[in-house]
């Protein structure tokens, strides 16, 4: 039985781990990866202490700091369910089962999917959610970007430099991305922009071969090898008991990081704390670990 299990190793989970390790808690970290969304962030200019840092560099610093404590980390492991019976919290994953007195949920957010035919079976086979990771693979190809925010326009810009043609498919009438980025995109003559448009189907056998869209009642079909879906994110909390979730499907926490279930704490972008920022997630992670520590001390008495 652990004192504490932490789900997630992004900024919130890593900071919680560092705080808990310094309290010498008997703990375990379960996570899909190290760094989470920060990995996909090209440049960070608002993390105190750094004028400019890449997501990759910041994650490296975070994990180096964690590594010195030799905290056991189960990577590439997905939590399936969380259950509390009596005073014991049971965490079930795709690889095993663990028990703990307390739990910090810092599982973050993941890419929002389109939810159209042909999407799931082509993930990694042309359908991509991380332009920073996968854009170079599509050098010289025709590609599509779905979305209208900063991450979509940023992805389209990265792709316009290397791809043959970039179709940008935006559901809204206008981009919500920063006008500066939009101007940069429009300066590329290989970018073709469709507003008020939605994706209806992703085509292809083993790999993606095309995309179907609908604009003002008219259907279009484009031959593309890559489709970058950049339509925001959703909390990663399929495993969490319903009573912990808000109407927006986030984990509700109070100012002590407590959730609806005693002994379970929440931190970072998975919670309903408003500012989804790396520095906020770190602070929330610290708070959650300290609250979990206080809880475990009370339980041990």
């Amino acid at each position: 039985m652990y004192d504490l299990i932490i789900i997630g190793a992004g900024p919130a989970g890593i900071t919680a781990s560092i705080y808990a390790a310094r309290k010498k808690m008997n703990m375990l970290v379960i996570t899909k990866d190290i760094g989470g969304q920060t990995n996909w962030t090209a440049s960070i200019q608002n993390y105190t202490g750094y004028r400019l840092v890449t997501g990759e560099e910041l994650v490296k610093r975070f994990s180096e700091q964690l590594e010195q404590f030799n905290v056991p980390v189960k990577e590439n492991e997905s939590v399936v369910s969380v259950q509390k019976s009596g005073d014991v919290i049971k965490v079930k994953t795709d690889k095993g089962e663990y028990e703990s007195i307390s739990l910090v949920v810092a599982s973050g957010r993941t890419h929002r999917k389109l939810g159209v035919k042909g999407e799931d079976e082509h993930i990694g086979k042309g359908v991509a959610y991380c332009a920073t990771c996968d854009a170079p693979v599509f050098a010289g190809a025709d590609v599509a970007v779905v979305g209208g925010g900063n991450s979509a326009v940023d992805a389209a810009l990265q792709l316009a430099k290397i791809a043959k043609k970039v179709y940008v498919i935006d559901m809204a009438r206008d981009f919500i991305a920063d006008p500066l980025l939009v101007d940069q995109l429009k300066a590329n003559n290989n970018a073709e922009i469709y507003h008020d448009a939605k994706v209806t189907e992703i085509l292809g056998a083993q790999f993606v071969s095309g995309i179907k869209i609908e604009q003002e009642g008219r259907g279009y079909e484009f031959g593309v090898e890559g489709i970058f879906v950049e339509i925001g994110s959703v909390p990663s909390i399929d495993f969490a008991p319903a009573e912990m979730k808000s109407r927006r499907n986030e984990i509700m926490v109070n100012c002590k990081s407590e959730t609806a279930i005693e002994g379970i704490f929440g931190a970072g972008d998975v919670t309903d704390v408003p500012a989804k920022q790396i520095i906020v997630a770190c602070g929330e992670g610290a708070k959650a670990a300290l609250s979990a520590y206080a809880y475990v001390l009370r339980k041990r008495k």
Binding site: D33, E56, G124, K125, C133, P136, V137, F207
Partner: protein, 78 residues
């Protein structure tokens, strides 16, 4: 005999960077292919792994998609 290790990656992908520094840390020698620049390597990677996401690691014919420390360590016997 030393294992033949190929890494298929792009220059921008953070998980590729993590994978490469993990291998370097473990003193594992590998050949890196930048599939953003080398089209033949890209085709090879697609054929081997049946997908297009990076990184892909080929350890003596055993294909591992993504930065999966556990699987890679197992395949390397470390």
């Amino acid at each position: 005999m030393a294992k033949e290790i190929k890494v298929y990656s792009t220059s921008t992908c953070p998980y590729c960077a993590m994978l490469k520094s993990f291998l370097a840390e473990k003193n594992v020698t590998f050949t890196n292919f930048d599939v953003g620049k080398d089209r033949n390597a890209l085709t090879e990677m697609k054929n081997k792994s049946g997908q297009m996401g990076v990184p892909v690691t080929d350890i003596d014919g055993r294909i591992i998609v993504g930065f999966n420390k556990e699987e890679i360590s197992k395949a390397l016997g470390i």
